[in-house]
Amino acid sequence: MAGRDRHPGDRLAALADGRLAEPERSRVVVHLAECPRCLAEYDTQLAMKGLLGGLSAPGTPGDLSARLTGLAADPHAAGSRRPPATRPRMRGGHPPQRSRRARVARAGAVGSVAAMLLVGVAWVAGGGPSGPTVVPPVDRYVREHAAVSVGVPLTEPALSQLAKGLVPLATQPAEAVTVR
């Protein structure tokens, strides 16, 4: 592919989102099989999406891992969508096959990035008191208090606290207020 020796950049995010169409999708997948750095970045993006969305990683090609593994182990096994003649050749600095050591290094890098990401998210989220500014509606709270308190019989609210909610009488019924 024309750009297979270039890193996919933004196309990694599109792949992670499942928005990358063929044949670009295959090109990026092939590149990931050859480039640990991009694969680590891709894994990190998937981890972020899974973490922040509380969902399984979106857009993950179901057979991606198998294909990548297959590409690494046997170029012909995963080449059903591509003629062998077009299989990308590795440039200098990229070994044709990932060694066990490289996979361990990649896993370590991915783990480190994910751990740093988690710590960073927790650090930002844990800063200072959160939530909106609160001006307690105390007068309303006093009314709520009286309304619930009256349920306990013989207590203060059932008697004197009631008086705090009384409303002025515009017309005073004579019989009701007669005190003998």
Partner: protein, 351 residues
């Protein structure tokens, strides 16, 4: 600044809160639930008298003149003369006579808001009930019931009418045996004719109580909700509209006084219209609004707490001391723990 004595008590409120809330439906549903955690030694006859009084308050038709007296936090005393007219099935009509400064006022407490089954279980969780002899109140023979603290001091006296079961007089005392609030019927007319009119309803709660499981879920998410505050027991949890978001309304009582704790997540902003001043209560600096009931406000751990209390001052001290105080832990580890908890709560679809 008003200074009050403080009692520092460390409470692991999340765990205690959950345990209490598990017992909440039992407490509300049945007085037998009070068998767990009651102060031993109550006289069953005294408990029966108070149960009768709680029921009589709702089922009897009567009219009465009552003198109500309260002591505020600064030692001042407020006294009011009320005319009560209870209409069974409708509620209690309360009239306050005109004075030189205020016109007559009235209100109606709905019958459905009463929960007579709460009284004795709440009292017995904090006090020992005993008979205290007989006397005359408002010209009627009455039996005295004492609520005694576990240390032997008297917390309250009740005078129950021998004939009707109606509560004729009540006094609440602080730890120094001073009467801090009293209600006394000066004249009583039983089977009085219904009130000739019904005034506007007094405030009623707009939201239902939470179930024990729903309330426990709030506690699990870190909201402060201790089972006990001083001698008071949590008996009602509901949500109300707060300043900006939903607030949790926790109500505590010992059968003598009631304390509401409103908890809202956020940062406290003090505005002049709140009319507050700084006071030291329970060893902590809080904002206080004067008058009765007590109104105390402070912020702690990302929450704003507002306490509305009818309780004596020494109980307020215990209540404030046992609730959370101070800002969030500023250590790096605490910040990471707090952040992890918040991220998990964001991801939790049921959170």
């Amino acid at each position: 600044m008003t200074a009050r004595s403080g009692i520092s008590v460390v409470v692991r409120w999340p765990l205690v809160g959950v345990l209490a809330l598990l017992a909440l439906p039992l407490l509300v549903a049945s007085s037998r639930a009070a068998d767990d955690g009651v102060v031993p030694g109550s006289d069953p006859a005294a408990a029966r008298l108070l149960e009768r009084a709680a029921a009589a308050e709702s089922v009897l038709g009567y009219r009465a003149v009552e003198v109500v007296s309260d002591t505020d936090g600064d030692g001042g005393q407020a006294t009011a003369v009320l005319t009560l007219s209870h209409v069974p099935g409708r509620g209690t009509l309360v009239l306050e006579d005109a004075s030189a400064t205020t016109p007559s006022r009235a209100g109606l407490a709905q019958e459905g808001s009463r929960r007579p089954e709460l009284l004795v279980p709440l009292l017995q969780r904090s006090y020992r009930l005993a008979l205290g002899g007989t006397t005359l109140v408002a010209g009627r023979p009455a039996t005295v019931v004492l609520a005694e603290r576990p240390d032997g001091g008297t917390a309250a006296r009740f005078w129950v009418d021998d004939r009707s079961g109606l509560l004729l007089r009540r006094q609440v005392l602080d730890r120094w045996s001073r009467v801090v609030s009293s209600q006394s019927l000066m004249r009583v007319w039983l089977s009085a004719s219904p009130a000739p009119f019904l005034p506007p309803l007094l405030p009623s709660v707009g939201t239902p109580s939470l179930s024990g499981a729903a309330a426990a879920a709030w506690c699990d998410r870190g909201w402060p909700c201790p089972a006990r505050l001083g001698p008071l027991t949590l008996f009602d949890v509901r949500t109300v509209q707060g300043s900006a978001t939903t607030a949790l309304h926790l109500t505590y009582s010992d059968g003598l006084s009631t304390v509401s704790v409103f908890v809202e997540r956020g940062r406290l902003q003090v505005v002049p219209s709140m009319g507050t001043s700084k006071a030291t209560v329970g060893g902590h600096v809080v904002l206080e609004r004067g008058g009765v009931p007590s109104q105390l406000i402070w912020a702690a751990d990302g929450y704003v707490l507002t306490v509305v209390s009818d309780a004596p001052r020494d109980v307020d001290d215990q209540v404030v001391a046992e609730l959370p105080h101070g800002g969030a832990d500023t250590s790096a580890w605490a910040r990471l723990q707090r952040g992890a908890g918040r991220v998990l709560s964001w991801l939790n679809p049921f959170g």
